[in-house]
């Protein structure tokens, strides 16, 4: 994926969320703003037949995976035009036919599921892989340990991507997790593990590529920790608990500004092209909004569909 595409995808996530936060009808949301480089860097390396699973912080991952913004928005607003007919919403969105096996709002809950999906892929004997994104918070959960162990034992084609945004709700990572680096957690299991700058989309992409080569070669799982920063509170309804100084400081790390300035400096993009990209992205989000708004809410009778 080119730098242009990386930039575009990050911009799309940011713009989408900036649109969403202005609406009144979304209930509440968990945003990926600030953390775009992690999803986008990761997804830039995924193939069509790979699968991505993620936590309840799913907007970035879903859009990075290439889901239509209109579909995503419809799902978040609870409309039947969403891939899950609006019943999954923020925490459980999925479109497996397009490689997005789905979000799961139980912290750490998607880890063992992802290992299972990886087992299914392995048994098919192709070179696809499963990527599972989870937060630093999920690293306190026993499910990570069980997954690391079995994935390593069975050489599962599983890429574990810890999006370490420094907090679990209000709890700083250091107050919740003893290891110095979270990637250290994978070391005893003998799998490759790396910590990279999650605000640098090319660093995430390059590390993902290295690990995806390893995994596709049948050498088993790998663990990638991406150090990132969320720009907004835990959710749109949660109180901000971080010191103002800290929030101000992290704005300077914006992965979009970082990539675009670099590209401008390197002459990889002109200011005019950048402005045009922003306009295009805005238009795409506008179109998504029109699409989602036109879609219907489910009929109450649907509550009994698709249960057993």
């Amino acid at each position: 994926m080119s730098a242009h595409e990386l930039l575009h995808d990050m911009l799309l996530i940011r713009t989408f969320e900036q649109h969403l936060i202005k609406r009144r009808d979304h209930g509440f949301q968990l945003f990926s703003s600030g953390e775009e480089a992690v999803s986008v860097g990761l997804c830039s390396v995924l193939n069509r037949d790979d699968q991505l699973l993620c936590s309840g912080r799913a907007i970035g991952p879903a859009l990075a995976r290439g889901l239509e913004p209109g579909l995503v928005l419809a799902e978040l607003l609870g409309k039947v035009a969403g891939p899950c007919r609006g019943r999954a919403g923020r925490g459980h969105m999925a479109l497996p036919a397009q490689g997005f096996f789905g979000a799961h709002a139980v912290v750490g809950g998607n880890l063992t599921i992802a290992a299972g999906v990886a087992l299914a892929m392995q048994s098919e004997g192709n070179q696809n892989l499963v990527a599972c994104m989870f937060g630093d918070g999920a690293c306190g959960a026993g499910a990570l340990h069980e997954t690391l162990n079995i994935a390593a034992l069975w050489h599962l084609p599983l890429l574990l991507v810890c999006n370490n945004n420094q907090y679990s709700v209000s709890t700083p990572r250091a107050a919740a997790l003893a290891p110095q680096k979270l990637s250290d957690l994978a070391v005893p299991f003998g799998m490759p593990a790396l910590t990279v700058d999650g605000m640098d989309v090319t660093a995430v992409r390059d590390a993902t590529r290295e690990f995806s080569d390893h995994i596709r070669a049948g050498k088993g799982p790998a663990f990638l920790e991406c150090i990132s920063y969320r720009f907004t509170p835990h959710s749109t309804s949660a109180r901000e608990s971080r010191p103002t100084a800290e929030i101000e400081a992290i704005q300077a790390l914006c992965p979009i500004v970082r990539l675009s300035s670099q590209m401008l400096m390197d002459g990889e993009i002109s200011q005019a092209d950048l402005d045009q990209m922003k306009k295009d992205v805005n238009a795409a989000v506008q179109a998504a909004s029109v699409f989602a708004e036109a879609a219907a809410f489910p009929d109450p009778a649907e509550v009994l569909h698709d249960i057993v």
Binding site: G27, F28, G78, G86, R87, A88, G89, R90, G91, H92, H104, A105, V106, V107, G108, G109, G137, A138, C139, G140, A141, G142, S168, V169, S170, T171, A175, A176, L177, R239, S241, F297, P298, D299, P300, A301, E302, V303, L304, I307
Partner: protein, 333 residues
């Protein structure tokens, strides 16, 4: 809010404040009482129901924990068994599923299996019910817990009961599951100024009537009382009981009421199958003959965050009214 004003009989406070007050008083009284939970420290809890406690008692007694529900409960139980007293906050009841091993396989059996040598005075405080958060953040599994010998289970519906039941829970000698409901935290109500516990196993008779007994608990008391009001306007007089305590269950209060009305409708937010309503119905039929009975609960589906589907899946005043009228008019239960 002047909690220290001993002259007034009661003060009006929010549900979450009632919790804070109970915790504060009990932590003051018992230096061994320690709170464990996610984001309950400086942050004050997801529903601010721990606000101020961290400042008052410090990081040793109000402990933030990692996302590790099994260890949260296991550590709370182990510490309690070894001489402390702990309250473990599990933000959503759905995640109690991650911690049933230490709670059910260990804590609930500890007193029995050690022949009384050890007990675990731990309170697992959690929240049940739907509020737009979807399939894995909305469940009510209190019926599972009621069935576990060795566990006590309470679920208040008002600030006064939250306060009084939580205080009692914090003085119990064995494991208690104390259940809040997400929609209750912002509600307000009168709480006695004088510190007082509410004993477990005593349901509250909250409205008097003669035609039908409505039995409910926790947030479902809200639609139940709304339904009683509406039924009253239609000439149906409702006796309403708030269970408050699910284990032990106060069948005597229910029985007294149904002796009068001859008709009972139970209302719960959880699943009907093997639920609270079926249990109460069975026990009641062992006490009284010829009672008309119906039960109301969630439809047999996951609870979506989608507001249309969420509403469609849960009991509300309309459904309660309809159910009562059908029962009274039909030959019924």
């Amino acid at each position: 809010m002047t909690l220290s004003d001993e002259t007034a009989a009661a003060t009006k406070i929010f549900f979450r404040e009632a919790i804070i007050r109970a915790l504060q008083e009990e932590m003051q009284a018992d230096p061994k009482l320690t709170l464990l939970g996610q984001d309950i420290g400086a942050f004050g809890g997801s529903y601010r129901e721990f606000d101020g406690l961290f400042d008052a008692f410090g990081a040793e007694r109000v402990r933030d924990m990692p996302v590790a529900e099994a260890a949260m409960v296991g550590i709370g139980v182990g510490a309690a068994a070894a001489g402390m007293r702990t309250l473990v906050s599990i933000t959503y009841m759905d995640f109690l599923m991650l911690a049933l091993d230490p709670l059910v396989n260990y804590a609930a059996k500890l007193r029995f299996k050690t022949a009384g040598q050890l007990r675990a005075p731990v309170v697992v405080k959690t929240t049940a019910g739907a509020k737009g958060q979807g399939v894995a953040h909305s469940q009510c599994i209190e019926a599972w817990l009621m069935a576990v010998p060795g566990l006590k289970v309470v679920a208040p519906s008002t600030p006064a009961d939250a306060y009084g039941l939580l205080k009692t829970a914090l003085r119990e000698e064995g494991p208690v599951v104390y259940i809040d409901h997400k929609r209750l935290f912002p509600t307000a109500g009168h709480v006695p100024v004088k510190a007082a516990c509410i004993p477990f196993g005593q349901a509250l008779h909250v409205r008097s009537g003669s035609d039908v007994t409505l039995v409910s608990f926790s947030y479902m008391m809200t639609p139940t009382l709304q339904a009683a009001e509406r039924l009253n306007a239609q000439g149906v007089s409702c006796d309403v009981i708030d269970l408050r305590s699910l284990a032990p269950l106060d069948m005597a209060t229910i029985c007294t009421s149904v002796k009068k009305t001859g008709v009972m409708v139970t209302v719960e937010e959880g699943q009907l199958t093997c639920g609270v309503g079926s249990e109460i119905s069975f026990r009641l039929r062992e006490m009284l003959d010829g009672v008309k009975i119906a039960r109301i609960g969630a439809v047999a589906a996951p609870v979506s965050s989608n507001r249309v589907l969420e509403a469609a899946s849960l009991p509300d005043a309309d459904k309660i009214v309809t159910c009562v009228l059908t029962l009274l008019n039909g030959k019924g239960g």
